[in-house]
């Protein structure tokens, strides 16, 4: 690899030179700049960083898991020999000679590791999950095997864990009033599917509005975001098609891809060289045994990856898609409403046209304070889905008050309700995001992801710190979500903050102060403040795995 004399930008797809993905390097000795220009594909800087795990921390994390595993074996041994009482549920006597229902290892993790810090999850809240939330206090007298409510309600916890990006989780206001009116008019349940007797005028109104909001020809709405992916991908692709899916795609995308029967190949997370290599191979070699060309190639990506906080490199994906003539399925579950100057999502964020994305999917759960999902695209596509989608034929349609909540919130974001509240919220979210991330980085924590992503993962690494962080923050009246194995790789456990437009600067400052304290207490400030270049991973042959169902 030659060393450049001066900074150069690079185009996507032809990254054979010294610069991968076109990031600009200064002369040796200067600070490495992450700004990516990529020959004009990006109209704004793309700042994403994933600082490497410090070696000592990695070693200590493995040691921690090792100790926990040893103790786990010891406790299992004691339970088997009845020295210790066995608290977890067991099979019925008559079924003891049946084949065991669960494999021992799955249960081992559950019994011996998860159970110790189980109080950080499934916490019952008893108010609307806005910027502040109330939680029911619970205690455990037997080390988390069972919980009892004390009867006390912990009030006004600063909520850094709910997906409430634009602050529409409110119990008063225009959205709630409209939803209450529709509830009294239409009731709560629909009791039929879209194709039978469940197609309300409200659904059609919603779909037209969503299509207008996204800038696409037509849209269709479904009752459940998870089902939108898992039930519609099988309707779009089948056997003989190829799906190229990002490494870190959500479980619903993975399930949809599996149920479709197509061949699935996985490319490294947000890595465009990996994707291009797969595309080239697919075009050149065709289907595995017959060498016939693939019927369809579908690229599955997400707008914001919620575990990493990274944003998809959409301009490059679209350039690749056009070059190799494949289709793009973009899951904007977290990015719709949260990115872009007017909240239209990742397409607007990069200044691209929605016509370039073939299937725009998203959910209403995060930025709109409701539940459900949608798919937007060309009219032919949506008409096809109305007939052939599994959800349209078999799933009950969306509940009317939920539909009204979405309609009111979309109108608010678009400014059609006559106020500038929507626009102000989108801007507030962007400001909160930048401020929060900057302050956390200054404090010395390792924060993953893109500078503009409202999902902020703060690395914890060690298993004990997962439980400790959750509990310490709750003591200080801040609710956070901590994530460990199996949702993340085993040594990369993290705390995940979700920012909201409803958070005021005072709330953020309070939260930051407490995080600072807890960070010092638990020694979480791992960052060595060395800015590591983006995606400097060497390109290797083991880029893809093929799975056929």
């Amino acid at each position: 690899m030659e060393r450049p004399e001066r900074p150069r930008a690079n185009g996507c797809g032809g990254a054979h030179g010294a610069l991968r993905n076109g990031f600009v390097r200064g002369p040796p000795g200067t600070q490495i700049n992450h700004i990516v220009h990529n020959g004009g594909l990006y109209k704004r800087p793309f700042n994403e960083a994933f600082e490497e795990t410090p070696m000592l921390v990695a070693v200590l994390t493995y040691v921690g898991y090792g100790v926990l595993t040893l103790f786990g074996y010891l406790r299992d041994f004691m339970r088997q020999w009845k020295i210790e009482k066995c608290q977890n549920a067991t099979e019925r006597e008559e079924q003891k000679d049946f084949v065991p229902l669960y494999q021992d290892f799955e249960n081992f993790y559950n019994r011996n590791l998860y159970m110790r810090i189980r109080d950080s999850w499934n916490r019952p809240i008893c108010s609307v999950p806005g910027a502040k939330v109330d939680m029911m206090e619970r205690v455990s007298h037997d080390y988390n095997w069972t919980f009892t409510y004390t009867g006390r309600v912990i009030k006004d916890i600063i909520n850094m864990g709910s997906y409430n990006y634009l602050g529409f989780a409110q119990k008063t206001g225009p959205c709630q009033e409209a939803a209450a009116k529709v509830l009294s008019q239409y009731g709560a349940g629909v009791c039929s599917t879209r194709q039978e007797m469940g197609n309300l005028d409200k659904h059609e109104e919603l779909e037209k509005l969503v299509a207008r909001f996204l800038g696409v020809e037509s849209a269709m709405a479904y009752g459940m975001g998870f089902a939108t992916n898992s039930m519609n991908i099988p309707a779009l692709v089948g056997k003989g098609c190829l799906i190229l899916s990002d490494e870190l795609n959500h479980a619903s995308l993975v399930l949809g891809a599996r149920l479709s029967g197509a061949t699935i190949r996985i490319f490294k997370h947000n890595n465009m060289q990996s994707l291009e290599k797969l595309l080239k191979d697919a075009i050149v070699h065709g289907q595995p045994r017959t060498r016939r060309p693939w019927k369809k190639i579908l690229i599955l990506v997400e707008g914001i990856y919620s575990m990493e906080g990274s944003i998809v490199r959409l301009p490059e994906v679209i350039a690749l898609k056009k070059k190799y003539k494949s289709y793009l399925y973009l899951d904007e579950a977290h990015s719709i409403g949260a990115l872009g100057p007017s909240g239209r999502g990742v397409v607007e964020y990069f200044g691209l046209s929605p016509e370039d994305v073939d299937v725009m999917m998203g959910t209403f759960t995060k930025s709109f304070g409701a539940a459900g999902g949608y798919i937007g695209g060309k009219k032919e596509l949506i008409d096809y889905l109305r007939t052939y989608s599994h959800s349209a034929a078999y799933a009950t349609s969306m509940s009317p008050p939920v539909v009204e909540q979405i309609i009111t919130s979309v109108k608010c974001i678009m400014g059609e309700d006559g106020t500038t509240v929507g626009r102000a919220r989108v801007q507030q979210l962007a400001e909160n995001t930048r401020y929060f991330r900057r302050r956390l980085k200054e404090m010395g924590f390792i924060i993953y992801g893109n500078e503009d992503s409202p999902v902020v993962p703060l690395m914890l690494y060690m298993p004990a710190k997962i439980g400790a962080f959750g509990r310490e923050m709750l003591k200080r009246n801040i609710g956070v979500v901590v994530v460990g194995f199996p949702a993340t790789p085993i040594i990369e456990s993290r705390a995940r903050f979700c920012l909201s437009a409803a958070h005021t600067k005072e709330m953020l400052d309070t939260a930051l102060k407490e995080i600072n304290e807890v960070g010092d207490l638990l020694q979480l400030k791992y960052s060595r403040r060395r800015l590591v270049p983006l995606l400097d991973r060497p390109f290797d042959e083991t880029t893809y795995e093929e799975t056929e169902d």
């Binding site: 549920a89 067991t90 099979e91 019925r92 049946f98 084949v99 065991p100 229902l101 669960y102 494999q103 799955e106 559950n110 998860y114 499934n122 997906y163 939803a179 509830l183 009731g187 709560a188 349940g189 629909v190 009791c191 039929s192 599917t193 194709q195 039978e196 007797m197 009752g223 459940m224 975001g225 998870f226 898992s230 039930m231 959500h250 479980a251 619903s252 399930l255 599996r258 149920l259 959910t363 759960t365 409701a370 539940a371 052939y388 599994h390 034929a393 078999y394 009950t396 969306m398 509940s399 008050p401 939920v402 169902d549």
Partner: protein
């Protein structure tokens, strides 16, 4: 729900199980064996075949789990499964809140041994947003109403039997479903030859009824995706709120429609 299963599992399922069950089974990646609808002899034959195979390979048998999946009231055929013959105790019941409870979503119930495992490994539970509190409250209230007024079940049953009797003897249409089932199918006695034509004919019956004040719908399926596609039919659903006059009116209207359009 089927995420706890892996490749060394056998699931015995009724062939008339609804689409949702079929997809769940497909997602579980286990070996699926279908037995004829409500035919316990066929199920027994399959289980005996499995037993002989187990004896040939006892090591594999020790790690192969077996499950039986049936529906309480089959959506596609309107009849019930012969539960007493099948088993003496049920391990997991999964139910839908969208029909009787007029809410959205569903639930699973059973022993904590089985259900607690779902909390960490049920994909629909872990990776999906939870139910809006509004709909949970609606379901709670519906359950309370059901507990406080147990006589509505008898009222519903009487109405079902009434409509079932009233719909017998319509020339050209046969009633498919148990007499106490609130959801029944009306299928054509004689097919016109192709499914498309049957569907068109049934549509005309439905439109006739719609124009005269009774809302009906055809049962919709994804024809290419179903394992055992049921014949085209009109779905007739009873609710406890319909009065006897309304039920009689519906039956007579259907008779009229059938007479004028099907003969």
């Amino acid at each position: 729900m089927f995420n706890k299963l892996s490749r060394v599992c056998y699931i015995y399922s009724d062939e008339a199980a609804c689409f949702a069950i079929q997809k769940g089974l497909q997602a579980s990646r286990s070996n699926i064996k279908l037995f004829k609808h409500n035919d316990m002899a066929d199920l027994e034959r399959l289980l005996k075949e499995q037993e002989t195979e187990d004896q040939k390979n006892p090591r594999k048998a020790r790690v192969t789990r077996r499950f039986i999946v049936v529906e309480g009231l089959y959506m596609n055929t309107g009849d019930i499964c012969p539960l007493p013959e099948l088993i003496d105790d049920i391990d997991l019941i999964s139910a839908n809140m969208e029909n009787s409870l007029a809410s959205i979503g569903g639930f699973c119930c059973g022993r904590s041994f089985i259900i607690d495992h779902q909390r960490l490994s049920g994909q629909g539970y872990c990776f999906s947003a939870s139910l809006p509190p509004l709909l949970a409250a609606a379901a709670i209230e519906a359950l309370n109403i059901m507990e406080d007024n147990p006589d509505i079940f008898q009222t519903l049953r009487t109405k079902c039997e009434r409509i079932h009797k009233a719909l017998q003897g319509i020339s050209g249409l046969k009633v498919v479903g148990e007499s106490f089932s609130p959801a029944l199918h009306l299928q054509l006695e004689e097919s016109c030859g192709s499914r498309e034509n049957d569907v068109k004919l049934l549509k005309r019956v439905v439109d006739y009824c719609m124009n005269s004040g009774i809302a009906l719908t055809q049962a919709r399926y994804l024809e290419k995706e179903e394992k055992c596609l049921p014949p085209p039919s009109i779905r007739v659903v009873i609710t406890v709120e319909q009065t006897e006059q309304e039920l009689d009116k519906a039956a007579s209207l259907l008779k009229e429609a059938a007479q004028s359009l099907l003969n």
